[in-house]
Symmetry: C2
Subunit: 284 residues, 2 copies
Amino acid sequence: MSEHEKRRPVGRVKEVTSLSNPLVKDIKALALKKFRDQNNAFMAEGLKLVIDALDLGWEIRTLIFAKAGRGNAAVEKVAARTVAAGGDVLEVSEKVLSSITRRDNPQMVVGVFTQRLVPLKDIRPARGDVWVALDRVRDPGNLGTVIRTVDAVGAKGVILVGDTTDPFSLETVRATMGSIFAVPVAKTSVEAFLAWRKGFPGLVAGTHLKGAVDYRSVDFSDKPVLLMMGNEQQGLPDDLAQNCDRLLRIPQAGRADSLNLAVATGVMLFEIRRGALSLEAPAP
Amino acid sequence: MSEHEKRRPVGRVKEVTSLSNPLVKDIKALALKKFRDQNNAFMAEGLKLVIDALDLGWEIRTLIFAKAGRGNAAVEKVAARTVAAGGDVLEVSEKVLSSITRRDNPQMVVGVFTQRLVPLKDIRPARGDVWVALDRVRDPGNLGTVIRTVDAVGAKGVILVGDTTDPFSLETVRATMGSIFAVPVAKTSVEAFLAWRKGFPGLVAGTHLKGAVDYRSVDFSDKPVLLMMGNEQQGLPDDLAQNCDRLLRIPQAGRADSLNLAVATGVMLFEIRRGALSLEAPAP
Ligand SMILES: [Co+2]
Ligand SMILES: [Co+2]
């Protein structure tokens, strides 16, 4: 359990091999929401992800890379960018990296970033914009997958309503496959959401098992659209359903009485964006 | 750690409170693929699921229920059906149930069932039938969600090609939300699959990032359709892609270069079944 730090000529690179190193302990603590919130920070894995995040202007606090990354030009470049941004760089053993990411075969690079949410009041949808509001979403994988899908269809962002799973958990960030850095996310109470919704200048559509309208029968073009999705257990509660302009239903066959939340959201989003997406001219 | 068994007047109900009870150990071992394969068995959680499974003719080997279920009419009825089918019934402590299901708040009822796969040679698609072939799917949640979606759209079943995650793992079964009992699943090698595919009497469509054809531009009606999906890491490999009649692409915007596998499969399936699904007349 020898522990040592030494300055590397390249910059401020600390070398860490001990699981009990206090820097490592602080990063590992980010697995818990309490510490993520206290530090307003979160972790993301993967060299490409970290580069994308920096390119998109996210604030990096710490770059952690495996010994195997030493000498890798891309890793050295990201390390230099981290130092230039005032962040720390840690070179760690694979054991430490596994421990931080809770994985047997960890990625070579992990970044610790400052959390960033968009304030609800700053969301002012324009024509063609699509936003997704998720009511009390519970499953980190579902949330991450919805964020990823929002990115894929070119929708504008996600509004988390009520008590939801944390968008900055390791599992959610993983499921976004990097889209956490590209897709604006807002968090709000039901009350604040309903107040904001009153000013929404377009169509507010809820997906509802009791909806009488086929989701394919609505014209979503030429206006902002807010898609409201209920959570995994209950679907949209009454207070939210009553504030939709339309309650839409996805027709189903067979004995399953509901789709997975991320699949249902994906099917809705591809329908809403049906006219905007094409192979010839990808929508902005 | 007191352990005791006693016969209940109602039937062959064994009462178990010890984690070291051999029956409990055997059931817990089903968390591992090795033991599931050895015993040709798997676990499913939830009273409604177990009832559905029995109604669909699945063979139950053991019913486990929490003490809280004693006297519950539905639980007693399922217990009687299990005994009538020659299965065992265990009444266990919540601690034991948590341990079996690896959950803090377990369902009240767990069933151990005999695995059942459909032989590939028995799949003879008719007009309108839709099958999904998944190439080396890795994520249990994705596989379970695809099985659930296949059920929801009224497709016929899932063919697992190559080395895939186990359809009978606890995580996959959970994600199917009961559809594991309703959706036929086949497992096969690439070679056997390609041989079978030669006789497929309809359209074989692969989803491919390099596909030149918009997935919405194809007529899927009036014929059997086989949808081939690549895995989470690589998309369709060449040997499978070359055996598709059409390589289709889902147009995307934004910086995400791919959709989650279960979402992409869902979007494809709702397109393929677009004409068959409606709110007025749910398809058979
Ligand atoms: Co050293
Ligand atoms: Co007792």
